[in-house]
């Protein structure tokens, strides 16, 4: 019995690399703890984790053409997984780059900090390449636990601790619902594998049973929490504001992408037979999420908090795409909604990394950049940074020729395609509202004078690199999006 299967370890190589990197990073903490202080451990940690991420990215890239599964069908590597794995790795690399400048404040846990960042990424990769709900759950927990800790990694700051605790408590609550839902789905179908689920759900006579729907609902809740859909969004502003800014950026991009990636796979494979039940749910949630996110953002004076609400709003736009999925599409590559989600998430990653990067860069040790008043006059004191910020804000609000415009355009055209005209109208109206608060940042930078002279900033190559690459990507993918779209098209081809 035990010899009846073989494991294709090659499929797991990227993940193995990441875990190895994480282990070395932990050792680093031990080595450097002997002689404490200095920026040595932080720098070494950054270099090591970057190296791990890059090697892993190359190995992931090498899997681009692989469509294969192993571990009794629990692991499935396909272009969809690979696409998202690369996205997570990019998000993690950005997180590392953005962290370098603040690493001085890590107080002796730099190795652990980077190790957790790497492991959180590992958890995401496990999630998105899982073909079984159990594995998804474990991956999700690995990611979540690491991120909870990262949020609280600034131990000396009360708000960081508070944010971590709140996030953890609500997150544990959500995980409870998720595992409960998985249990019910198992109870109703006898399997936790995606394909198996789809088969059993499709063959249920007389429509789905109550138990199946209960399982569907509870599982959805678990993921909707992670992607910050209303009304499971309450943790977002606190957690985003309290966390160290690089971690906020990482959460905003990678955690959200991971949530949506798994949701996509789950909805399109395992729960596809229940599409007529979850599509209206997504419709409603999309409307609520867009409204709350955008209206919430209007009244924020902290840019970080504004971006937190903006991240809720963007979850809403992505939910519009989920509500526009065509469950009957013969070839998933023709389903514009799926493509829209993949393109959107990539652009979203770039915009947010860039925006948070600029905030980090503009802040100095004694004066973290946070409120709208603080960026006054930045357009003239820091012309390049401010120009980059303007690009990110325009992209976030969906103004051409940035990637953000195309992303929204795809989402709304997907909605129109499925005849969800009212949803598209609500979405476009919301994005019109959003211009107001994104633009406010630009107005403050360019059209207001600073009350006190802005300090000179020390050059930071890693942060500058992250900002530059993001700005380039946002423009490049807005003007020449075809390479990304081709990749996304290939990724969704193997989704169903």
């Amino acid at each position: 019995m035990s010899n009846s299967f073989e494991i294709n370890w090659n499929l797991l190589l990227p993940e193995i690399v990441l875990v190895t990197a994480a282990l070395f990073l932990l050792l680093l903490g031990v080595i450097y703890r002997v002689r404490a202080g200095g920026t040595g451990p932080a720098l070494a940690g950054a270099v090591l984790s970057l190296a791990g991420l890059v090697v892993c990215a190359f190995m992931t890239l090498a899997q681009w053409d692989t469509v294969s599964g192993t571990f009794h069908g629990m692991l499935r590597i396909d272009p969809f997984a690979t696409y998202f794995n690369l996205l997570f790795l990019a998000g993690a690399a950005a997180g590392v780059l953005l962290s370098v400048r603040e690493a001085g404040s890590l107080r002796g846990v730099a190795g652990e900090y980077y190790a957790l960042l790497v492991i959180a990424t590992f958890g995401m990769m496990v999630m998105v390449s899982a073909a079984d709900l159990l594995v998804v759950f474990i991956g999700l927990e690995t990611m979540s636990l690491a991120v909870y800790i990262l949020v609280g990694s600034r131990r000396e700051k009360a708000e960081s601790n508070e944010a971590a605790l709140k996030y953890f408590l609500i997150g544990a609550f959500a995980s409870g619902f998720l595992i409960y839902g998985i249990a019910f789905l198992f109870g109703a179908t006898g399997t936790t594998q995606f394909r198996g689920l789809a088969e059993r759900l499709a063959t249920t006579d007389g429509g789905p049973s109550g138990l199946q729907l209960l399982g569907l609902g509870l599982v959805l809740i678990g993921f909707l929490f992670k992607v910050a859909a209303v009304p499971f969004h309450m943790w977002v502003p606190d957690a985003y504001e309290g966390a160290p800014t690089p971690i906020t950026a990482y959460m905003a991009v990678a955690v959200k992408a991971a949530g949506f990636a798994v949701l996509l796979r789950l909805l399109n494979v395992g729960l596809l037979p229940l599409a007529s039940y979850w599509l209206p749910v997504m419709w409603t949630l999309a409307v609520a999420t867009m409204l709350v996110g955008n209206l919430g953002a209007i009244f924020q004076s902290s840019i970080k908090r504004m971006l937190a609400y903006s991240s809720i709003a963007h979850a809403g736009y992505l939910l519009v795409a989920l509500a526009s999925i065509n469950p009957l599409a013969a070839n998933p590559a023709d389903d514009r909604a799926l493509l829209a989600v993949l393109y959107y998430l990539a652009i979203y990653t770039l915009m947010n990394v860039g925006a948070f990067g600029v905030l980090i860069y503009m802040g100095t040790a004694g004066r973290p950049m946070d409120t709208l008043e603080q960026v006054r006059g930045a357009g003239f004191r820091y012309p390049l940074l401010a120009a980059a910020m303007a690009v990110f804000m325009f992209s976030l609000s969906g103004i051409p020729p940035t990637g953000g415009f195309l992303a929204k355009f795809y989402v709304f055209s997907a909605a129109i395609d499925r005849g969800l005209i009212s949803l598209a109208i609500i979405g476009v109206l919301n994005s019109a509202v959003s211009v107001y608060y994104y633009l406010r940042v630009v107005v403050q930078m360019y059209m207001r004078e600073s009350e006190e002279p802005l300090p000179a900033l020390s050059f930071s190559l890693p942060v500058a690199l992250a900002i530059l690459l993001s700005a380039w990507g946002v423009l490049q993918l807005g003007i020449l999006p075809s390479c990304l779209l081709d990749a996304a098209g290939r990724a969704v081809q193997f989704l169903r």
Partner: protein, 168 residues
Amino acid sequence: MAEQILFYLFAVIAIISALSAVTRKNPVVSAVWLVSCMCSLAVIYVLLEAYFLAAVQVIVYAGAVLMLFVFVIMLLNLRTGIIGQFRNLGLKFMGLVLTVIILRQFYTAFKGTSLILGNAGGLEPGFGEARAVGELLFTRYVYPLELISILLLVAIVGALVLAGKESS
């Protein structure tokens, strides 16, 4: 019949213990209720002929994990009252109403659903023994098993980051 009576008895005990665990103000008392809950679950596992699982449940959860809880609570010298300051009637009332609504929904969901769980043809020989569980864990479920090892590693690292001594 006897099995069913035992099942319902311990199921009720488990629920009451769980409720008590989250409503008691003294953390030590809470922890003890949790032990009671875990043990009741272990009995249910026994009823399901999952003997090994039952033993693990008692040894690991009731024995190791919860004893650790109690030790930690005692070491930190948490007084009663730290937990349980939250006495907001409005929220409590709302929570209660919503819980009732959700329970009602669960009832709707279960009503008329026939479970297809269980093995009608009887259990395989050796089911629930350590060998069978071990074989499953290291063949079919080897991937999740390995992943859990990393999850636990994260937990340890987390404890270190959040509670470790500051070096500077």
